[in-house]
């Protein structure tokens, strides 16, 4: 099992181009005209979006699991 992660955006780098939403296999990212949104419950921790971002605006952080 890959490590469970959350995706975070660096808003100062992001252009809201929608590419991350396009490559996401599970619709876990929504790009609205007013902002970027991550839907944790849909994410499968594949990190495809992190690599695909043309400007490196996305990063993966380990998801804290409650003990």
């Amino acid at each position: 099992m890959p490590e469970k992660i959350k995706i975070v955006v660096n808003e100062d780098r992001c252009y809201l181009c929608g590419g991350c939403a396009g490559v996401c296999p599970t619709l876990a990212i929504e790009v609205h005209s007013s902002g970027w949104e991550f839907l944790q419950d849909k994410c499968i921790s594949c990190k495809i979006c992190v690599n695909a971002c043309p400007v490196g605006a996305l990063s993966a952080e380990p998801l804290e699991v409650k003990a």
């Binding site: 181009c17 590419g19 396009g22 005209s33 495809i48």
Partner: protein
């Protein structure tokens, strides 16, 4: 609020307005929506397009969205060999997408379509399992848009198509990551587009200079989206290595481009997917405007027929016709891309070197078979079984 139309089109890029215009011309009610508050802005595009599309898709040749007419292309290999293809007549233009897209939406509106900017599609509305419309938001106001036919022209994100149950998945290797400056740049013939190839320069893709003026151009790059480095990294590296100052930047554009994995089933019941959302992009060069126009034209033809004959099952003909025509062509282009991405820098140097000495007229004429034959005749190719194998895959 709740509205009812014959057709709702989500996305006012290239494909969406073409569909909306053609459907409106046939006399049906259509609403074209886009989440952007200014249609056309921002763009994800290098803005180059063939001169042929204006007549073919009935688009006025309006100087308001044409920055510059282009007469050909110049290709550069990793070590600097050059191949120039120059035509007597204009072969293409560099558009201003923020004007062009808006004008396409304007043509749709003039033809009778309603058009609403800053209207974001959020989800589909289902009734008895069937999609009957979309939930949207105009500014902050929720709206329900009911329609007999729903067209997802919503770009690379393809959200509405996917929510409607159309499988638009493509693996990460089938996307390009792109980054582009519109900037002042000198020293390149402004009548040609310029393309640089090389595995260190632009993995799987190329760097481009598309002139919009004598000294102003879109300078961009596309690389495979599963590359660990960013497109921005590679473009900035190329500019630095070539001592091109990036100090006069007028615009920055970013995007992810589907370059393979065309959507198989383009229609699900009464929902159609077109353009980038359907991955209908040329996998070789990453351009998708002409492909979107073609798909939009085929889609709208079958939407009109289906509505006229009150038989929505006719919509399936869009999938069939697209795959028999442009889909077939693009599948071939995809095969070529998969071969060319195996080329080493030495291969690229050699091939461009050979072709620059070959029959330029035939190459410029786009006689693809002749190009491969010219390469296959060369001793350095004949002595490499790997190169022969690669080229034969292309024939």
């Amino acid at each position: 609020m709740s509205w009812k139309y014959d057709v709702v089109v989500v996305g006012a890029g290239i494909a969406g307005p073409i569909v909306a215009r053609n459907v409106a011309r046939a006399g049906f009610s259509v609403l074209l929506i886009d989440k952007k508050w200014a249609i056309g802005t921002p763009k994800q595009c290098a803005e180059g397009i063939s001169i042929k599309v204006f007549e073919k898709y009935d688009i006025p040749y309006d100087k308001r969205f044409i920055n510059r007419e282009i007469y050909g292309a110049k290709l550069y290999s990793p070590s600097g060999y050059e191949l120039e293809m120059r035509y007597k007549d204009v072969s293409g233009v560099i558009l201003e997408r923020k004007v062009f897209d808006k004008m396409l939406a304007y043509y749709a509106a003039k033809a009778g379509a309603d058009v609403l900017a800053r209207t974001e599609a959020l989800d589909v509305i289902r009734k008895d399992g069937k999609v009957v419309g979309i939930k949207a938001k105009h500014e902050d106001e929720p709206v329900e848009i009911y329609a007999d036919v729903i067209v997802a022209a919503d770009g690379v994100e393809s959200t509405i198509a996917r929510k409607a149950g159309i499988n638009t998945y493509a693996p990460p290797h089938e996307f390009d990551s792109s980054y582009e400056y519109e900037m002042l740049i000198e020293g390149f013939d402004p009548d040609l587009i310029h393309l640089w190839f090389g595995n260190e320069i632009a993995p799987r893709g190329y760097v481009w200079v598309f002139p919009k003026d004598e000294d102003r151009a879109n300078v961009g790059i596309g690389i495979n989206s599963d590359n660990p480095q960013t497109a921005k990294y590679y473009l900035d590296k190329w500019l630095k290595e070539n001592n091109i100052p990036a100090k006069k930047l007028l615009e920055i554009n970013v995007g992810v481009v589907p370059v393979g994995g065309f959507v198989k089933e383009l229609v699900k019941d009464n929902v159609l997917v077109v353009g980038d959302a359907a991955r209908q992009v040329n996998p070789m060069h990453g351009g998708g405007m002409a492909e979107a126009m073609e798909a939009g034209t085929i889609a709208s033809k079958w939407i009109v027929k289906a509505l006229e004959e009150e038989n929505l099952s006719l919509l399936q003909n869009y999938t069939k016709e697209w795959w028999e025509t442009d889909g077939k062509r693009l599948e071939k282009v995809l095969k070529v891309r998969r071969v060319t991405e195996k080329l080493t820098d030495e291969d690229l140097d050699l091939f461009i070197q050979i072709l620059s000495g070959a029959d330029a007229e035939k190459i410029a004429g786009g006689d693809y078979g002749e190009v491969i034959k010219a390469l296959l005749k060369h001793p350095k190719v004949l002595l490499s079984s790997r190169r022969i194998k690669l080229l034969k895959e292309l024939l």
